[in-house]
Subunit: 363 residues, 2 copies
């Protein structure tokens, strides 16, 4: 029996025993509000604090939410028993169907209702939705010296990430359950924001020449990509990131490093405080003359974001980032990682090597 099943059973038994004692059943979860989101300096990431919330079935305001939570618990316990996975959209339809037969009113009308409750269950029971057989969006890719053992659909497959040609290996929704890193010979992990740059570096066989893992989250990282990076950092591999020098690039980086306010409830399991930011930096624009022609004017969103970031305690503790962001505010410029190909397509690899060799990165 999986840990998740045990926890769901314990929750159910607690409620039953409350009913048997003549009490109304309750469900204790952790507040996921902004005021209960803290930056944990010791581990270097955002997480939810300790403020609890007690939901009661016998409450006009909470009865509906309470029933919905129990329904999700019961349904995902069924998925675990059947050993079948589905998306949160699939879960929504199952709930809509199951409960619709005897009850006049729909228990769920919008998927957004079930999404929030899944997060409640995750923090309350200290499990991940992936452990409840719920699949999430997947997006990123990896190539390089790593072999994955994938136990899936009753079969075992060894997947050698040096043998994936132009495609690479698609990072799945769940990199924990039924999945193991069997072999890992890389010296470090390079994360590039965009798939186009990943394809460029994959064509140059950068991962082979430099003995690294080449990863792209394809924009913002999925849960699967963040978990995989956490696991690789746990194996003591340095994690270097190459992003656009703009609001979106910074956000993608800081979500990998410390998590984000919205996703703080995921905590350290999905954060990589060890990550370093190789570029593109404002100083690069000074250092590499050809980049000067290829900058763009920063948009309002970029400037506003830089100002906000200077106010975040988990960012302004890093002097190098404060300097970087002040330079953005002063010059009002930004630059994309694609610009690194402007002079010569293969320049990107040289740029990365120089940065790593000389330890030229931001925290």
């Amino acid at each position: 029996m999986s840990d998740a099943t045990k926890k769901l059973e314990a929750l159910g038994k607690q409620m039953v025993s409350q009913v048997e004692k003549g009490e109304g059943p309750t469900f204790e979860t952790v507040l996921r509000t902004k005021s209960n989101t803290i930056y944990d300096e010791a581990i270097g990431c955002l997480r939810t604090g300790d403020k609890k919330e007690l939901r009661k079935f016998l409450s006009m305001a909470q009865a509906r939410t309470f029933m919905q939570t129990v329904a999700i618990g019961a349904k995902t316990k069924q998925f675990l028993r059947e050993n079948l996975h589905t998306s949160i959209r699939g879960l929504f339809y199952q709930l809509k169907f199951t409960l619709g037969e005897d009850i006049d009113e729909d228990l769920f009308t919008e998927q957004s209702e079930s999404n929030a409750l899944i997060e409640d269950i995750e923090v309350a029971l200290k499990i991940k939705r992936e452990d409840l057989n719920l699949t999430t969006d997947r997006k990123g890719f990896v190539a390089g010296p790593m072999t994955i053992l994938d136990r899936f659909g009753g079969e075992e497959t060894l997947i050698d990430l040096t043998k994936q040609g132009r495609s690479g290996w698609s990072i799945p929704s769940d990199v924990d359950n039924g999945m193991e890193i069997k072999k890992l010979d890389a010296d470090y992990v390079l994360v590039v924001e965009k798939d186009a740059l990943w394809q460029r570096l994959n064509e140059d066989k950068f991962w082979k020449k430099e003995n690294c893992l080449l990863v792209t989250p394809k924009g913002q990282s999925t849960r699967g990509t963040r978990r995989l990076l956490r696991k690789l950092a746990d194996k003591k591999l340095p994690i270097y990131c190459l992003m656009d020098c703009d609001a979106w690039g910074w956000y993608i980086y800081w979500t990998i490093k410390t998590g984000s306010m919205n996703l703080a409830y995921l905590g350290r399991d999905f954060a990589v405080p060890e990550a370093k930011f190789l570029g593109v930096t404002m100083s690069d624009i000074k250092e590499f003359e050809f980049l000067q022609k290829l900058t763009m004017k920063a948009k309002d969103v970029d400037v506003k974001r830089a100002e906000e970031m200077l106010g975040y305690p988990w960012i302004n503790r890093y002097a190098d980032w404060v300097r970087e962001l002040k330079m953005v505010l002063k010059t009002k410029k930004k630059i994309e990682q694609d610009a690194l190909q402007g002079q010569r397509l293969t320049f990107v690899g040289e740029y990365i090597n120089k940065k790593i060799k000389n330890k030229e990165w931001l925290s």
Copy 2:
């Protein structure tokens, strides 16, 4: 020397000879306007017509566009010579850099300028941008009895699509150059709109039980996915599609089948007129009782789209589609493919089998 290189050289030589004769150089392309977009009944897809456009260098209105076109031709010829690929964003930065040194004015200020000119070159020279070493976005996945030979970055890799675990094989940007289908044992191709449903069917090993290729475009199909489906149809495999019953699902299907107005210039190489629409259909809502609870109210965009589609000659020639769309207008309902999991997660596979067995599909 590749076909694309030869065509680019011929274009250059023609211009040089025009200059040597004392004429202004010209470039003949095909009009990609709505008025020159036709539905070709013989091949069953949208394509650009035969109206030509002659661009002149010695024209105040056309000089800039002319120079830009020549610059793209020269630059992609260089990529072909170097045997290196990049994205159209990478091309944009290369052009911005190369031409910026001696010329005061930027030849390109926005990427949208270069995008349109790439399309001009594609139709004028009858080549694909992929043949010019330009990579495009990739998105879809495949699993099933097919083996791909991928010659890439100086190496050959055999990729067995029955051995990709939960991830599947990511359909690359270019499925023609350096790529071959080495083994293909499937009886048909099943295309499901969403990755979540692909994952569900992959877990059920649907492709193994039914000996088919399981494909998802992950929403709208990329160029790579459309080319791959065309190639599979050329190998005489039936192509069955399962989409949402809404505006977006129909659009995704018809883009696979006939192409779309915007992308008509791609013509038959990117269209699969043989494709069939398994569902989800309006009749399904009547037939499967459990679906009745899981429909949604059609939005304005769905209704408007259905009305538009009834007016398209390439759609209203099919009586089954006319009936379907009229039912949408009458009931104002829609339904997602995810709803097929509402009753039982594994129902989707049974539904597909029944549809194929009884030939219950729309053209």
